[in-house]
Amino acid sequence: MRQASQRWIGLACCFLLPYTLAAQEPRKVEFNRDIRPILSNNCFVCHGPDNNLRKAKLRLDDEKDAHAKVLVAGKPMESELFARLITTEADKKMPPAKAMKQITKQEIELIKTWIEQGAKYEGHWSLIAPKKHELPAVKNAGWVKNDIDRFVLARLEKEGLQPAPEADPRTLIRRLSFDLIGLPPTPEEVDEFVMEYAGAKRGAAYEKVVNRLLKSKHFGERMAVHWLDIVRYADTAGYHSDNNRDVWLYRDWVIDAFNQNKPFADFARDQIAGDLLPNATNDQKIASGHNRLLQTTEEGGSQAKEYTAKYAADRVRNFSTAWLGMTLGCTECHDHKYDPFTTKEFYKLAAFFADIQEVAVGRQGQTPIMTSTQQAQVKKLDDDITQIQKEIAALPKEKVKDAQQKLAAVQKQKAAVQKAVPTTLISTSGPPRIMRLLKRGNWLDDSGELVMPDVPAVLPTMKIEKDKKRPTRVDLANWLVAPENPLTARIFVNRLWMLSFGSGIVKTADDFGALGAWPTHPELLDWLTLDFQASGGDTKRAIKQIVMSAAYRQSSKGTPELRQRDPYNQLLARQGRYRIDAEFVRDNALAISGLLVAKVGGPSVKPYQPAGYWRYMNFPVREWANDKGESQYRRGLYTHWQRTFLQPSLLAFDASTREECTVERPRSNTPQQALVLLNDPTYVEASRVFAEKIIKTTGKTPDRIQTAFRLALQRQASIDEVQIVNRLYDKHRKHYEANPKDAASLLSVGYAQAAKDIQPEELAAWTSVARTILNLHETITRN
């Protein structure tokens, strides 16, 4: 242990290598799991895929080349690769001293065993179907809460590490709430849980919270924040003038799909091909808006052919990252340098979407779709109309006029309902455009061969009906969710893991290709994938399984030694600790203050935004108008998503502009974030309303401070904390007493009226306290 950590200081910059520190027992060496990381970290720089850096014309990433030159299967002592590792001659030794790489004895031993066993290579791990692995044996079986834990613990035990202790109950419920619904728990929820958790049935108490959150209507909102980044949902067209489009029905469909726990196959099929399904419902048509979320242009002088090509490429880029976890973008112009995808395959994928009708240059056509309420309203009004008409026929002449007026009124009502029918972008199929391979991506070059829709050859073949001339998006969706597909379910469960720990089992959640990271727990990822598939793509079940594990319930604290040894938490000997996403920073403040309007769905809204922020937008010049009333206080995900000028307080907290697929947002920590929390009227107003709540809950200052902490942080304030806050309160109370204008001025920030029944100086001073608390690192951190 001591030795290991000393070595880790030396290698502080290096990633941990899967399974390389473990004590050796004779076992089957696997190339991907055991050998590839060693070669990749130590040898590939000079003996890998990069033509520019290659030394001695040797490729160790290429099985044929390596076997032809430096490997003799079964005979390590005759293999030059091995000889170079163990030689004592400085000029022969590999890696050379100047490379500053060190291969450990255990690693050399592994390579020896691998050569003895035949020095076999394997294809890229993510393209090999997940395998059923035996649940690993563990020593500390008492820690295990479900099968996930066996994989996590087995790895920890190999590394000689202990899992972190369980987090305290308040942290657990707060973590669960942020992870599952993106909102903080209420003090009452915390109290109930803490009490029940202290009792005999703590397991049941925990599960009760998990079940409640998974059933919450806010679960879908939380999941949508993630999914909308992936499919790049926005309220504007993106290019050039970046004009509005209405597609929020799709956003609401996503929320609803997660809330209904739609089986993953349907979730995928409805989005990719909902419009083509037999007797497609309105909901399925709305879901097919998925294929229309790309950026489009209205710029005069743009050439339709160019933009048709751009849109085709955009769809492949997004489809491949969103649904396959592969970056195919580069194959628009050349074959992939690292992954087995060709340019031709890029255009074959594009051909699946060639039937979608759209405007190449100009405003996209919107499709009106009635909500179920509107359908009911119209039906009722139609019935009324029929009824009145019948009555009119039977009425004596002198009474007809009145009845006709009544009829007109109802007809007017019906017209009003119809006028209010929302519109959205949906996929509409038509004769497919000709799709040809564009050489070097050049849209003007018509010499490339024509291609038909098909999936990349390295992946399982697509099954289609025998006599079908041309595969459709339905076939593509079915192929995607077929059990043979090694990628789609894997990347999806990896993302669910990421939402529960802060990063995935594959850290590059957007790239499962050769340049992406390797899974830290490959067998666990396989297990989760197979389990998800076996469950029929049950997302809520998969999430529940993850959050019920002991691994999930660990404290995020860790020890300094652990952080030094495993800075990126690849071993999972603790939970993740990170700032909550942009939308939730907002939601949290509104929820704490009580301002949050918990309504789900509907047209996008415009919270406060600094004037003039849209100055550089054009065609036409526009001004953002802050919404009033309840629209001002909706959750962050309902914010009008202007691609070129995203609402800046969301942007400051790393919200995605949604021009391209974003699977994982960066998590920055900047002065701009401090300025938003200190000065954005959203947070000043929320602080004042929060202050009113504090004042109205209790009477004495220390009690009020405790209330404030309980409301915002769901915990008691310490004596030191009370003192700091108390000092601030006293000072500001005096100031606002002496400066009533300042108080009045502060209390008038925001559209919500300040409480009239509280002394202004009192409310202003507590507003300072509330601002302080809303600005705390802890307030915006999930741990």
């Binding site: 502080a12 300094p560 942007l651 002065p671 300025l675 700091i724 601030l728 600005n775």
Partner: protein, 469 residues
């Protein structure tokens, strides 16, 4: 003392976790700044080489300034006006909007003349820059890898067209630290002109990519709140704001004692920076201390967000220790009317640019300030109507100040100004040279990300020693 030990350990952990070197350990106290201790942030490395440039001011002519109407005289192109562009130049070459069009030579639309004792040839629409001809070094043999604005900007700023890598200013903030007390070490100003299309400049051009986010550049706006959300809420004076920030900091520190979270130290320093910026940034725009003569030299009335005002802001930022200052002027995408539009755009930047160089010189700051003037790419020798299309194979920039050979020109394009032909300078070469002047061996400023050591110059880059004084 105990606190210090915790802090030491914590900072060490954070720094090693972020891939930083041990050099940063030397000045740990900065991890927890307070009002009495404002000395910026230390860097991850010590300079490898003699430091000639302490800072960079990059006058970035966004949109793609035509080299043929500015720094690269091409008499042969004039002679060929209207004739088909020889296919020996264009066959198989990537072309932007002119794809498939008839390619014809288009004569330089403005005359050149010789300026200064060095006799540098510069288009006459830049008379003020002509007046500093003896201070600048024109490089006429640049080439880049991208033909559209967005990827070309990304390449010029981050050394790759793939988004998500750190901008040069972020690399410097990470490597050398920040010496400015009250300002981020990497500041960006933007202005728009009246002649070219105002192409957008995405935020990613000053993003820190995979480097810790505190190295991100900050956008200082020309008008309104100079930085979004900079102004205190109404009813909150500076003292009240300070009280709140103090309470936040104290409570955060207490919490750090409980949870031992390295991000809290960063959060605390960001709140300090935010608070200081509330004073320092508005003060930047207060030109009342500048003499009328200075304003006249720059050709400005005040801090109005114009390119000229930004040039004066750049000097003021430089004086305050900001290491990397980038001024974007969005006005150079001249697909049409290149003659009129070049004249117009040139007039927008010419005087203030020269004034900045002279001003720095007069203050003795040109010796350790590196000025870079240029675009993400050049424009085609072929006509696009009466304009020019994007062009990546050959274009010009000029540099001046710290360690740069003055009154000098270097490299050449071919006779028609199409390909960089002599002493070709790639964007990576430019970066390597700039880093060299800043005291950095470009091969040794690296950051480990996804198990690879990344650097600004990717896998290439040679220092252009010939342009160094």
């Amino acid at each position: 003392m105990a606190t210090n030990n915790i802090l030491t350990r914590r900072t060490f952990l954070r720094d090693t976790a972020a891939g930083m070197g041990l050099a940063a350990l030397a000045t740990l106290s900065h991890a927890q700044p307070s009002r009495s201790n404002r000395q910026g942030q230390p860097g991850a490395i010590q300079p490898h080489l003699p430091v000639k440039a302490k800072r960079v001011i990059w006058l970035y002519m966004a949109g793609g300034m035509s080299h043929l109407e500015s720094w690269d005289p091409k008499p042969r192109l004039r002679a060929m006006d209207g004739q088909p562009m020889p296919t020996s130049f264009t066959a198989g070459q990537p072309i932007a909007q002119l794809q498939g069009a008839q390619l014809r030579c288009f004569a330089p639309q403005h005359a050149f003349r010789r300026f200064g004792q060095s006799g540098q040839e510069i288009a006459e629409i830049f008379p003020h820059i002509g007046s500093i001809a003896d201070d600048i070094c024109i490089v006429r043999s640049l080439k880049t890898d991208a033909i559209n604005h967005d990827p070309a900007h990304t390449f010029m700023n981050t050394g790759t067209t793939i988004s998500g890598r750190p901008a040069m200013g972020s690399w410097l903030s990470y490597g050398l630290g920040n010496e400015a007390e009250d300002l981020p070490g990497f500041c960006v100003l933007t202005s728009s002109g009246r002649y070219g299309q105002s192409q957008p400049i995405a935020q990613r051009q000053w993003h820190s990519g995979f480097l810790p986010s505190r190295h991100q550049g900050i956008h200082l706006r020309g008008t309104g709140d100079p930085v979004l959300y900079l102004t205190n809420p109404q009813g909150i004076d500076q003292e009240r704001q300070r009280d709140v920030v103090d309470a936040v900091q104290q409570l955060n520190r207490l919490q750090d004692g409980v949870v031992d979270d390295p991000e809290i130290a960063t959060r605390i320093s960001q709140y300090e920076m935010a608070f200081r910026m509330q004073t320092s940034v508005p003060a930047l725009r207060d030109f009342s201390q500048e003499s009328q003569r200075v304003l006249d030299t720059y050709g400005i009335r005040g801090a109005d967000g114009s390119f000229g005002a930004n040039c004066l802001m750049a000097r003021r930022l430089a004086e305050r220790g900001v290491r990397f200052i980038q001024l974007y002027h969005r006005d150079w995408d001249h697909h049409g009317s290149v003659k009129d539009h070049m004249r117009g755009s040139a007039a927008e930047v010419d005087q203030a640019t020269a004034a900045l160089v002279k001003d720095l010189k007069a203050r003795g700051m040109l010796d350790d300030t590196l000025i870079v003037f240029g675009s993400e790419f050049g424009r085609t020798p072929m006509a696009q109507g009466n304009g020019r299309d994007h062009h990546m194979k050959g274009f010009s920039m000029w540099l001046a100040g710290a360690g740069i050979k003055p009154g000098f020109h270097f490299g050449a394009t071919d006779e028609l100004g199409y390909n960089a032909a002599e002493n070709i300078v790639t964007v990576h070469d430019l970066h390597a040279t700039m880093l060299n002047l800043l005291g950095i061996d470009h091969l040794r400023l690296t950051f480990r990300f996804q198990s690879r050591d990344f650097r600004l110059t990717d896998v290439s880059g040679n220092v252009v020693n010939e342009i160094l004084a």
